[in-house]
Structures are given as structure tokens and as C-alpha cells.
Subunit: 151 residues, 3 copies
Amino acid sequence: MDGLKRLEAIEAIRNLKARYFRLIDTKCWVELAGLFARDLEVRTPEGAVYVSGGQAYAESLRQSLERAVSCHQGLTGEVEITGDATARGIWAMQDVIEWAEAHPRMGWKSILGRGHYHETYRIENGAWRIATLTLTRLRLDVTWPDGRKPA
Amino acid sequence: MDGLKRLEAIEAIRNLKARYFRLIDTKCWVELAGLFARDLEVRTPEGAVYVSGGQAYAESLRQSLERAVSCHQGLTGEVEITGDATARGIWAMQDVIEWAEAHPRMGWKSILGRGHYHETYRIENGAWRIATLTLTRLRLDVTWPDGRKPA
Amino acid sequence: MDGLKRLEAIEAIRNLKARYFRLIDTKCWVELAGLFARDLEVRTPEGAVYVSGGQAYAESLRQSLERAVSCHQGLTGEVEITGDATARGIWAMQDVIEWAEAHPRMGWKSILGRGHYHETYRIENGAWRIATLTLTRLRLDVTWPDGRKPA
């Protein structure tokens, strides 16, 4: 890929990741699903796939966050173009989330986290999409309803 | 606009927004005013103009912040060039501000906020300037002098 | 430097700074040292050099942080290319650090800080490196072991 096309691809991916954060926090679930490859894989840091498919991931985020005030924010990023239609990136992140009652599966009242997204990207139907996504955490502080602590 | 000129414009606007945050927090009010279009409009999320003019906005920020330690920080952004001399952008933001006494109009002792700037830009006298600015908040936590709560 | 080369240099420096933050917090001290010019100067805001040499600075960070959970995060940046192989930049930053016991020299249990890196860059052995680095702080909140306050 020549120099200009490479920079344009990096800029498109930077824009993609910024929309990812904004669409989650403004609860635009339909538009959010459009940022993911159809066969998106969300993986644990150990490499296990725990969500398959862009629609499924957007739906999973909706279920977790629809009764929360969430702030997911991206900081500095490293984007590398690896082919004509493939790339990878690492993005520093923060999330501050407070649930009206509690996270529906985890039971948290609120979290404050910091870490990194490790991602790959692919052009699908003419636009860059997130193809794989792994979140590693430097730190995660949680609170529980009524001050309850985890067992 | 061709590809290179478009990327140069995006980079110039990214730099503009970074200076905006830095010049507010280092209280460089004269330089700050130079980042705004002469007829800047600062608008509420509903679209009402509540400050008109770049000089007036810089002066308004000075009055609000000169007796505070303020940290306004920008995160991921989406910039779109819409014409030869026009653009728009959305920037995630955080602000952490603590006043020596209290915000002169709002009465807050401190705030911790997160949200998005929705902006348009225009080339004026050869440089990109902020032409319109709207701040939407995901969340705003405030404290009051002496632990007082709002009525 | 022509337009494309200038944008490529800015992108390379943006990537360099993102790696700086990430390699500190993931404690990759050897890779971190590779980001610095051999004769790196770390300076106080007043201009005094307090660390000389990239290896020495990476070692100093290791000693300070190896028994801490650290989150150094970069926000908006301003990068200016000043020559064929020289540049400067300013980066907004946050750091949230908690030591297992205490910072080995300062005695802090934890800190929460915000400020700006003021840096210069240079191409050395074919890659952009950080050549000088000064951190100015807008704000630094510290806690002490056992709630102890500084004398």
C-alpha cells in the first residue's frame, strides 16, 4: 500500500474506533453493529472466543449497558496496516460505568477500569470494520450494590 | 479536496483541538481566543446560542476558570472535511475542575465530567478555527462548598 | 519536508508516544529503552537535566514502577516537524499509580496526576526516538501509606 493510502487507512480506523466508543455510550446499538465485521470475534486475553458475530456483540453490549450511564473513552492508539484490506491496532482505554441497579450478569454497581484494546480490522463491503477484539486490563475497580463485597 | 490535502486538514484540526484544551488549562486566554472564528457560536445541546464571538467565549472561560485548577482533556475524535474550508468533528472529553472558592455563576466547588464536543470548523485568515461548539455530557458529577447540596 | 513525508513523520511520532505509555504500564523495560535517543535528556520544568540517557531513564522507570500498578495515558497531542529528522510535541497526560508498598524514593502510596509532556524527537538509527522530555503538571493528588500526610 502506498504512503497516502496507508495514512488514509489509519485515519479511517482512528475514526472507526472513536465511533465505537461514542456509539456505545450514546446507546446507538444499530449503528454500533455496523462497525463490526459480520463474523467478529471477541476474545479473552487467553484467546478464547466468547462472543461471535458483530450483531451478537452489539446485542450483548445493549443488554449489559442499557440501564447504565457508561463512559468508554479511548486514548492514544497504535495502528498498523498489514495488507490491502487488513490492519491491527492497540488502543488505550478507560471505562467508567454506573448501573441503575447492577450489571445484569456480573452484579457490579459501578466500575472504573483502564486497559488496552488489541484489535484487528478488515475492509468489508467497502469500509473498515473491527474483525477481532480483545480487552486487557491494567486495573479494574468495582463497587457493589449496598456496599456488598464479592464473596 | 484531494487525499493529501484532506489528511493535512484533519491533522491541522486535531492540532487545533489539542491546543484548545491546553490553552484553557494553562490560562493562555489571548492565544485561546485566536483559535475561534470571530463569529463563533457556542450552542446548547438544544441548539440555542449562549455565547456569540470568539473573544466573548475566551473571556467567558477566563471568568469561569481563572480561580480554578482545571484539566480539560480530549480523547478520540472524528473529523470530517465537508468543503474546501469547512469541516466538522466530534471529540470525546473529560473535565476535572476545582475552584479556589466556587464557580462564579454555578456555585460548584468542583466538577468531574465526561461528554462530547460537537463542532464545526472554518478556515479564517488562513488557519482552521472553531466555528461552532456544542458540549453534550454523558455524566457530570459536582461537589459544593462545605458539602452543601443544590436546592 | 513534503506534505506526505510530514504526515508520515507525525503518524510515526504519534505511534511512538502511544508505545511509550503502553510499554511503561506493561513493564516492558527493554522495549521501552528502545524508544529513547541514546543521549535522552529528561528535564525539570525549569530546564535542569535530572536523567541523562535512554537506558538510564528506562532503568529509573523500572525502579520506580516495578512494584506498582501504573496507568499512564496520553490524550490529545500537538506534533510539529521542525527538520528532516527533528520534531517537537506536546501531549496531554494522566497517570494513576498505586504502589504495593510505596514509591521507593517519594514515599507515595498512590498518585492521580494530569499534565503535559513537552518533548523533542530525533531520527536515530532510522526510527523516531524521544530526545528530550519534560513533564509539567496541572495537578497531582497523592496519598500516603497508612493515611500518613507529608511533613
